[in-house]
């Protein structure tokens, strides 16, 4: 199986470990990833808050590039990129006027041929958890995991959802398949503060603080995520949140690809686990068999 790979800006910078772990994991799973040549920023949130057309044209440009690769699927690990690609694709397919404008701006026709998926989708649906389970070399020994999906992976359901928008299960099912204990909790899809990390950091403290608190209350030993912004908000800002609310949290925040990579037998360094702010090594060494 071969798919186009759209890393997005974050995976080439602060979220490098997400990129590395994804590449390693998919290689192990037998899926060849080919990076979209010359990809540009999808525009994330700032584009669609400034101009509707720009917010659609940027993702479409990348989808045209993926189309030119001759592959029929492109995966985007960053939830924001994934969301923008899917929404732009859907809007252009539904609004012919918009499609005309996009094609005018890009100077190329838009075929809409390429299917957009999230790597989690590939693992859970295309490869299947049964196969993944069989490939596990190191069981997680009941590690208590709070699966945090965030907003953009599951909303709006008409455009992006391969999972339920209120109580999604795909990350939880993956955790269970690799031997962890997926904890039920009510904050799976509450917003972490998203792109306010730099501009309205206080809001991130409040929102991410509440999420981390709920994860602790649910009995979590760690949180697993599928978005670089969520990871950053919950991990990078965790110490500041602890200080602000005078409460110890100490929850490592891992990318699902890192957790899966560990289960498949890879080591912590190559999966970028040493790059996290909240140190996961002690917890994982204790847990992994």
């Amino acid at each position: 199986m071969k798919v186009a790979y759209y890393p997005g800006c974050a995976l080439h910078a602060t979220a490098k470990e997400y990129d590395d772990s994804c590449q390693l994991v998919f290689k192990e799973l037998g899926v060849e990833l080919q990076e979209v040549p010359g990809w540009i920023c999808c525009g994330a949130t700032p584009a669609h808050l400034t101009s509707h057309l720009l917010g659609v044209a940027l993702p479409c440009k990348n989808l045209i590039l993926a189309d030119e690769m001759g592959l029929d699927t492109v995966i985007a690990p960053c939830a924001a990129c994934f969301n923008r690609l899917k929404v732009a694709d859907q809007e252009v397919k539904e609004d012919l006027e918009l499609k005309k404008d996009v094609e005018k701006v890009l100077g190329r026709p838009y075929s809409g041929r390429v299917e957009i998926k999230h790597p989690l989708e590939i693992i859970v649906q295309d490869i299947g958890l049964e196969k993944v389970r069989k490939m596990v070399r190191r069981e997680l020994e009941g590690l208590r995991v709070a699966s945090y999906y965030g907003c953009l992976l599951v909303r709006p359901p008409e455009a992006v959802s391969f999972d339920d928008p209120e109580d999604p299960q795909s990350l939880d099912n993956l955790v269970t398949a690799i031997g962890g204990e997926a904890l039920p909790w009510a904050f799976k899809t509450e917003c972490c503060g998203a792109s306010f990390s730099l501009s309205e950091t206080d809001i991130v403290f409040q929102l991410s603080g509440e999420i981390l608190n709920e994860a602790v209350e649910a009995g979590a030993e760690c949180v697993v995520v599928a978005c670089p912004l969520c990871q950053s908000n919950l991990d990078l800002r965790q110490k500041a949140i602890e200080k602000r609310y005078r409460k110890r949290i100490n929850l490592p925040v891992l990318y699902f690809s890192q957790l899966l990579g560990l289960a498949l037998g890879m080591n912590m360094r190559e999966l970028g686990l040493l790059k996290h702010m909240v140190d996961p090594t002690k917890l994982l060494e204790k847990t992994l068999v």
Partner: protein, 663 residues
């Protein structure tokens, strides 16, 4: 040759302002067969009708054409007028030069020309009208009432009082419906059982009312005055005539299962009476859970019954009965709120519905009248009520307002406070609909005297945290987000049609809307009738309503039914299909397209060959004269009396004929 009179109506300025009625009248004189013409301001008025009657007598007219408004308004008026003057009413023809002419055009010249054409076409048809005869059918003086809730019960009482027989078919083991589950009713706070049970007893004791409980209607055929109904009396496994309701059987039964009547909050036995005041007070055996039926074990009930009323060999009984009218009183069910992920997908034990709360509040209910947390049975000190769950929700629920919830939520908060004065009650609402008599005063009393906090806004999320529920809502009036930690959350779920409502509608040939609620004949003027003559609607199966409205519609439907039954015979419209046996090839294409099931096959002996063959046969009483069969028939063997092929072709010929005016 026919002698035709043409009467053109001005209808004040409705027609005359756009159409030159004098010209139409003038030109009509030249139509073939026309012997008399006249125009008048209001043809439907007494003097207008006098004009027609006089003309018929004085000029020996054999056909009457009135060019005026739509036949749906005054066809019957003019038919009667014609009949009064001694002519068969079906020799009258109406030309619509108002709705189909003056009201939709502006150009006077063109409208007048069109009106002339319309009148000409009517005259052409009138030539070929024949004196159709109304036939009559007998009427069975019995009414079938499907459903034994308060609406069915009230209808039965009214019909019996009027001197007719009523039969209630109720699918549950007892009559009483939803109302029997309630604790107290708003706004009087009467105990529901106390006001309902006397009516239930009245129904059981009346000579004119027959109760078939634990029974269902399986098939309905026939037509108004003569419905044939097949009813399945499901086997209770108890001989009703022997049982005296002593209760020894269910007291000794060892099997306990969740009770549907208590909404699964309490338990019942495998042999059970759904509630203490059940009518009939005869238990029923739940075949799925009975040890004897399932595994041939136990059988205690049979052993201890002093009257030997238990009969495990009893089978379903099928009975066929005839009725003159049918009243549909099948009621409602409740919206399933577990589709809302934001409310927990139904997995939080302490999130429940208004009907569950009724059972808790009821002193004879599963919690002895205490409002408790369903997770641990502790008394609920802080209760949040959420209105409009499923209602007014186009996205995932039903678009309409369920009408009752504002009132019963107010009632629930009052009763909660009465049972536990220390309890706190919060109500999240969008609007308060309290339009009935004393309803507004009731809600205000709850807000003032009982200290219930009303918050205006929907709730976005309910989740569990440390064994307590957190409710995240909003108060738009103060512009704040509201978060409440609650012991119990009560959802006022929408009243919706039962899932099998469509099956019943098809059985009865009545229409239903996109919400599966049965459609009334006219939303303003005929709320308890359907377009199918003889079938009436009452209660919530037509639209959500409270007890006073339900009782009102029950009485209304009974009057309508009794009205039918008070006739010894009913007239049938003669404008129905007729088969020409000579031409009919028996292909039965007409039978396939008939929406009323009015055509069946008939075996005849051919006059010429003396061999048997099949032709189509029209049941006059079922035919509605829609003409679909006519269109489907290839050899033109079936025709519609009053709208025959000959008549229609005559109209077409008149339209294309050259009238020498260049058009």
């Amino acid at each position: 040759m026919a002698r035709i009179g043409v009467f053109v109506c001005h209808c004040g300025t409705n027609i005359a302002a756009t159409v030159d009625v004098k010209k139409v009248t003038e030109v009509a004189k030249s139509f073939p067969g026309v012997r008399f013409t006249a125009d008048y301001r209001y043809m439907c008025s007494e003097p207008g009708q006098d004009l027609i009657r006089k003309a018929i007598r004085e000029h020996g007219l054999s056909r009457v054409v009135v060019a005026a408004c739509s036949p749906s308004l005054h066809e019957k008026t003019f038919q009667k007028c014609t009949e009064d003057a001694g002519l068969n009413p079906y020799l009258f023809e109406m030309a619509n030069i108002r709705e189909q002419c003056s009201w939709v055009h502006d150009d006077r010249e063109e409208a007048t020309s069109k009106a002339i054409d319309i009148a000409g076409v009517a005259v052409a048809k009138a030539h070929r009208n024949s004196p159709l005869q109304t036939t009559f059918i007998p009427v069975e003086k019995r009414v079938l009432i499907i459903g034994g809730g308060i609406s069915g019960i009230q209808a039965a009482i009214d019909i019996a009082f009027a001197g007719f027989e009523a039969v209630i078919v109720e699918r549950e083991p007892s009559i009483g419906g939803r109302m029997a589950m309630f604790d107290k009713t708003f706004p009087t706070l009467d105990c529901a059982a106390c006001i309902l049970t006397p009516k239930m007893v009245e129904v059981s004791q009346s000579d004119r009312i027959t109760l078939y409980t634990y029974s269902e209607v399986e098939e309905v055929s026939g037509y108004v005055g003569n419905f044939q109904v097949r009813i399945r009396r499901k086997a209770r496994l108890i001989n009703e005539n022997e049982c005296n309701g002593c209760g020894t059987c269910w007291q000794r039964c060892p099997v306990k299962v969740p009770s549907e009547f208590d909404r699964n909050l309490g338990k019942r036995k495998a042999i059970y009476v759904p509630f203490p005041q059940a009518v009939p007070n005869v238990p029923v055996i739940d075949r799925e859970h009975c040890l004897y039926v399932d595994k041939k074990k136990c059988g205690i009930c049979k052993k201890v019954c002093p009257f030997e009323a238990v009969n495990f060999e009893q089978e379903d009984e099928i009975i066929e009965e005839k009725f003159g009218a049918i009243i549909v009183a099948t009621g409602f069910t409740l919206f399933d709120y577990s589709i809302y992920g934001e409310y927990g997908y139904g997995k939080y034990k302490n999130v429940t519905t208004g009907l569950h709360l009724e059972r808790m509040l009821n002193s004879a209910g599963p919690t002895g009248g205490k409002v408790v947390r369903l997770s641990d049975g502790k008394e609920a000190e802080k209760v949040v009520f959420i209105q409009c769950v499923g209602s007014r929700d186009e996205a995932r629920g039903v678009p309409y307002c369920s009408r009752l919830c504002c009132m019963y939520t107010a009632k629930h908060t009052l009763l909660l406070k009465e049972h536990n004065p220390a309890a706190e009650a919060y109500v999240f609402y969008i609007d308060i609909r309290a339009a009935g008599k004393n309803y507004e005063e009731f809600v205000e009393k709850v807000q003032d005297e009982y200290g219930v906090t009303y918050l205006r806004g929907r709730v976005s999320k309910i989740f569990e945290r440390n064994g307590r529920l957190t409710v995240r809502g909003c108060d738009t009036l103060s512009g704040t987000q509201i978060e409440i930690d609650a012991d119990l959350v009560v959802l006022a779920t929408a009243l919706i049609a039962r899932p099998d409502a469509t099956k019943l509608a098809k059985m009865l040939h009545i229409p239903y809307d996109q919400n599966r609620l049965f459609t009334e004949a006219h939303p303003k003027l005929a709320p308890v009738e359907t377009v199918t003559t003889g079938v009436f609607l009452t209660g919530a199966c037509q639209s959500p309503k409270d007890v006073p409205d339900t009782v009102a519609t029950a009485s209304a439907a009974s009057v309508k039914a009794c009205g039918l039954l008070s006739h010894d015979k009913l007239p049938i419209e003669p404008q129905i299909a007729r088969v020409n046996a000579e031409i009919c090839s028996g292909c039965l294409a007409c039978k396939e397209v008939c929406p009323f099931g009015a055509i069946e096959k008939e075996e005849i002996v051919d006059k010429v060959s003396q061999k048997k063959r099949v032709i189509a046969k029209v049941t006059a009483t079922l035919c509605n004269g829609c003409g679909a069969c006519n269109t489907a028939c290839r050899p033109e063997a079936i025709d519609l009396d009053g709208f025959t092929e000959e008549q229609i072709f005559g109209q077409i010929e008149s339209l294309v004929a050259d009238r020498g005016d260049g058009k």
